[in-house]
C-alpha cells in the first residue's frame, strides 16, 4: 500500500527487487512530477473548462437575478426585488406546481416501467436483447425528434391516437389531447416517459445482472416460481439501480424543455408551463433577463436540494 503513496519518480529510482537491469534515463525524463503535481496537471484543463462553462454562468446568473433588466435598457440593481415579484407572480407559482407534478409523475412512471421491464427481461436476458436495445434507442433519440413524432400521434385532426380510438369504436374518447388544458400535461408526460424509460431499464437490468447467480439457483431448487423470484430476490436486490435511475430521471425531468416546447409551447393557457419554460419565456421572449435569472436560481436550488443528499448518500455507499 505504501507504494501508492510513492511518487512516480520514487518508484523509478527505487530499483526494485527484480527485473531486467535498468538503463540510465536522460535527466529530462527523470525529472518527474509528483502525484499531486500530476493530478493538477491533468485536471487543470478540465477544471478550466468547468469554470468557464459552468461556474461562471452560474455566478453570472445569480448576479443577474438581482438586477432589473428589460430588453436592451441598462440594468438596474433591484436587490431581492425579482425574488419578491416571483413569489407573488401567479404564473410562476403555477409553473412551480406544474414542475412538481411533471417531475414526480415523469420520474415515477419512467422508473416504474423501466424497472418492471428490466425484471421481466432478466428472466431471459438473451432472448430480450433486441427488445432492450429497441427501448433504449428511444432514450438516444433527441427530444426534438421525439416531439415531432408525438405531435403526429396527438394531432387533433388526423392524429394516430385518435385514429386508433376511432378504429376500435371508442370515438367518444377522441379529443384534442394537447389542446385540452386538463389532458395536455398528461399527454406530454406520456411522450416524455417514452423517451426516458430506456435509462431505468438499463440501470436496473445491470443491477439485476450483478445479483449472485447462486441465489436464483437456490430459489429454483427450493421450488420458487418466477413471480416469487422477482418479488423476493430481483426486486429488493436491484434497488441500487432503481435509486440511480430515480436520481438521473428526476434531474432530467427538472431540466426538460425541448419536448414541452415542441408539443405545447407551455400551453394551452400555461397548463404545461414548467419553471424551465417560464424562465425561457421571461428571458428570451419577454427579455426580462433579471427576472428570468431569478427563476433559474430557484430551479437551481430545487435541483441541488434533490441532488446533494443523493450524491452524499452515493458517496457514503461507495466508501
Amino acid at each position: 500500500m505504501a507504494c501508492t503513496k510513492m511518487s512516480l519518480a520514487e518508484i523509478e529510482n527505487s530499483g526494485g527487487p527484480s527485473g531486467p537491469p535498468k538503463q540510465e534515463l536522460p535527466v529530462r525524463v527523470r525529472k518527474q512530477l509528483t502525484d499531486t503535481q500530476a493530478a493538477w496537471f491533468l485536471l487543470t484543463p478540465l477544471l478550466l473548462f468547468f469554470v468557464i462553462s459552468v461556474v461562471y454562468p452560474v455566478i453570472e446568473t445569480i448576479r443577474l437575478s438581482f438586477f432589473d433588466i428589460r430588453g436592451l435598457a441598462p440594468e438596474r440593481f433591484d436587490g431581492w426585488g425579482n425574488y419578491v415579484k416571483l413569489f407573488s407572480d401567479p404564473n410562476f407559482l403555477s409553473s412551480l406546481k406544474v414542475t412538481f407534478i411533471w417531475a414526480i409523475s415523469a420520474t415515477f412512471f419512467s422508473v416504474s416501467i423501466g424497472w418492471g421491464l428490466a425484471m421481466m427481461c432478466s428472466l431471459n436476458p438473451r432472448k430480450t436483447l433486441i427488445f432492450r436495445v429497441m427501448i433504449f434507442a428511444a432514450y438516444g433519440v433527441s427530444e426534438a425528434v421525439s416531439g415531432f413524432m408525438w405531435l403526429g400521434i396527438y394531432r387533433p385532426d388526423y392524429g394516430l391516437l385518435n385514429g386508433i380510438l376511432e378504429g376500435v369504436g371508442l370515438s367518444g374518447w377522441t379529443q384534442p389531447w394537447l389542446g385540452n388544458p386538463s389532458t395536455a400535461l398528461g399527454a406530454v408526460v406520456i411522450a416524455y416517459v417514452w423517451t426516458q424509460v430506456g435509462l431505468p431499464l438499463m440501470t436496473c437490468f445491470a443491477s439485476i445482472q450483478s445479483i449472485p447467480k447462486n441465489l436464483f439457483e437456490a430459489a429454483y431448487i427450493d421450488g420458487a416460481k418466477s413471480g416469487s423470484v422477482m418479488r423476493y430476490i430481483i426486486a429488493p436486490l436491484s434497488l441500487p439501480g432503481v435509486r440511480v435511475a430515480i436520481f438521473i430521471n428526476l434531474l432530467n425531468s427538472l431540466k426538460a424543455f425541448d419536448l414541452i416546447f415542441i408539443l405545447t409551447g407551455g400551453g394551452p393557457v400555461r397548463s404545461t408551463e414548467t419553471v424551465g419554460f417560464f424562465m425561457y419565456r421571461e428571458s428570451m421572449l419577454n427579455f426580462k433577463l433579471g427576472y428570468g435569472a431569478a427563476s433559474t436560481v430557484i430551479l437551481l436550488i430545487a435541483v441541488l436540494v434533490v441532488s446533494i443528499p443523493l450524491i452524499i448518500k452515493r458517496t457514503g455507499d461507495a466508501k
Partner: protein, 399 residues
C-alpha cells in the same frame, strides 16, 4: 457616389424569405460591384428577437437590421441602437416612393426610424374557391353575409373558420374585429397604453367574436388550442376541411409552392367583412423594414441598399416569392392576382394599422395571447370581464 466596402446586415430570415433576401442581395451586389454584403445571423429558436438582442448586447457591429416588430423598434430606439432616418429619407427621396401611411408606420415621436420594404395584408381572409362552390356561397362583403354563411358551410361538412390557437395566430380574428368595430386610431391608443383593455371597445370586439363562436364558426375551444398555424392553413387551403383562415402573405407562397395551386383560380382572398361602423376602409398590415444601426460603418452602402429595395427590380424578385413591395415605383401587374388584390386593398385603405400583437411590449404581448386562448376555451361574458381586467392590470405595470 460609388459605393464600396462591406455592408453588414443582421438577417434572421429563413425559408423562402431567406432565399428571397439572398437573391436581393446578389442583385444589389451586381448593381454595386464595389459592395459586398455580409449577413450576421442571430442564433435563436422561435422568436428571433432573443438572438438579435444577444448580438447587439455582445457588441456586434452591423449596418442594417431587418425588423418586423414595432415594439422591438421602440426598444432599440430607447437603447440608442438605431438611428433616425429623416435626413436619409430626404437625400434619397424615399418619401417619393413610400406613401404617407407607410412612413407613419415607422415614425416614432415625429421621427422616422425604418424603411418598409415589404408588407402583408392581414385583413385578407384566405379561402379555396372550390370550398365556396361546395357550400354554394360567395365571398361575403358584409358581416351579416359572413356570419350567415356559416350554416351553409357547416351543412356541407366544412368548418367555417380554422383558428390555430396553439401559440399566436388566434389573435388575428380579435384584432380584425377590433379594427372594424373600434378603428385603427383606437388600436394605436390601446397599443401605446393610452386606452384601457377594460374599455367598451375591447369588450364589443370580444362580444362580436363571441357571437361568431356561438354561430358555430369554429371547432370547439380545445381543438383550436391544439392547432398549429400550418395545420389550419392546410385545412383551409389544401384539404378544404375549413373555409377561411386569417394570416399573413406567406400563405401565398405556401399555397403556390407546397400545394401547387394557382393564385386567383384555386385560392383567393377577400377583405375582412364590412360592419358599417365607419372603419370598413381601414386595413391591418404586417411589414418588414430596415433599421440603420448606430454601429453603422458603411452608411452609403446601407442607404444604397435601402434605395435598391424600393426599386421595381427588387419588387420583381419579391413578387416571385409571393410578397409585395410598398414602393410606388412598382407596377402592380407584376404580381399574381392574389397579391394584386392585397396591394389594391392596402393602398386604397384610408388608414393602416399594424398587427396589434406585434405592437405590444413583451409582458403584455405574452399575456394577451394567453388571454385570447382563455377566451376561446370559454367565450363567456365572465371570461370577457376576467381577461380584460387581467390585461389592464398587466398593461398598468408595463407602460
Amino acid at each position: 457616389m460609388a459605393q464600396e466596402g462591406e455592408l453588414v446586415m443582421i438577417n434572421w430570415l429563413g425559408g423562402a424569405q431567406g432565399e428571397m433576401m439572398t437573391k436581393l442581395q446578389e442583385s444589389f451586389e451586381a448593381k454595386y460591384p464595389g459592395v459586398t454584403v455580409r449577413n450576421v445571423v442571430p442564433q435563436a429558436g422561435g422568436d428571433a428577437r432573443g438572438g438579435i438582442r444577444g448580438l447587439l448586447m455582445g457588441g456586434e457591429q452591423a449596418d442594417l437590421l431587418i425588423n418586423t416588430w414595432p415594439a422591438f423598434r421602440a426598444e432599440l430606439i430607447e437603447a440608442g441602437l438605431i438611428l433616425p432616418l429623416d435626413e436619409s429619407y430626404d437625400s434619397n427621396n424615399w418619401g417619393d416612393q413610400l406613401g404617407e401611411s407607410w412612413r407613419a408606420l415607422s415614425r416614432v415621436n415625429g421621427e422616422n426610424y425604418g424603411v418598409t420594404y415589404t408588407f402583408g395584408d392581414r385583413s385578407g381572409i384566405w379561402y379555396r374557391t372550390d370550398t365556396m362552390e361546395k357550400a354554394g356561397i360567395t365571398p361575403p362583403t358584409t358581416y351579416e353575409d359572413f356570419i350567415g354563411g356559416f350554416s351553409a358551410l357547416n351543412d356541407a361538412g366544412i368548418t367555417p373558420i380554422s383558428v390555430p390557437a396553439k401559440v399566436w395566430a388566434h389573435a388575428e380574428w380579435f384584432e380584425s374585429l377590433l379594427l372594424r368595430t373600434a378603428g385603427a386610431d383606437y388600436m394605436t391608443r390601446l397599443a401605446s397604453g393610452d386606452a384601457s383593455w377594460t374599455d367598451d371597445e375591447v369588450k364589443v370586439a370580444l362580444q362580436t367574436w363571441q357571437e361568431m363562436l356561438t354561430a358555430n364558426c369554429c371547432d370547439d375551444g380545445n381543438t383550436m388550442l391544439a392547432l398549429d398555424w400550418d395545420i389550419s392553413v392546410d385545412a383551409a387551403l389544401k384539404t378544404g376541411d375549413a373555409a377561411y383562415v386569417l394570416m399573413g402573405m406567406w400563405l401565398n407562397t405556401r399555397a403556390k409552392q407546397e400545394y401547387g395551386d394557382t393564385p386567383g383560380e384555386d385560392f383567393n382572398i377577400f377583405q375582412f367583412p364590412a360592419f358599417g361602423l365607419g372603419h370598413d376602409d381601414e386595413s391591418m398590415v404586417d411589414a418588414k423594414e430596415f433599421n440603420v444601426l448606430s454601429s453603422v460603418e458603411n452608411r452609403e452602402a446601407a442607404d444604397a441598399f435601402i434605395s435598391y429595395m424600393l426599386t421595381a427590380d427588387a419588387a420583381e424578385i419579391m413578387a416571385q416569392y409571393g410578397l409585395a413591395s410598398p414602393s410606388t415605383d412598382v407596377d402592380p401587374s407584376i404580381y399574381d392576382p392574389v397579391i394584386q388584390r392585397s396591394v389594391s386593398e392596402v393602398t386604397s385603405a384610408n388608414k393602416l394599422q399594424f398587427v396589434l400583437g406585434d405592437l405590444l411590449p413583451g409582458d403584455l404581448g405574452s399575456e394577451y395571447r394567453v388571454a385570447m386562448q382563455r377566451f376561446l376555451q370559454d367565450p363567456s361574458d365572465e371570461t370577457i370581464e376576467a381577461i380584460t381586467a387581467q390585461l389592464a392590470a398587466v398593461a398598468n405595470g408595463v407602460y
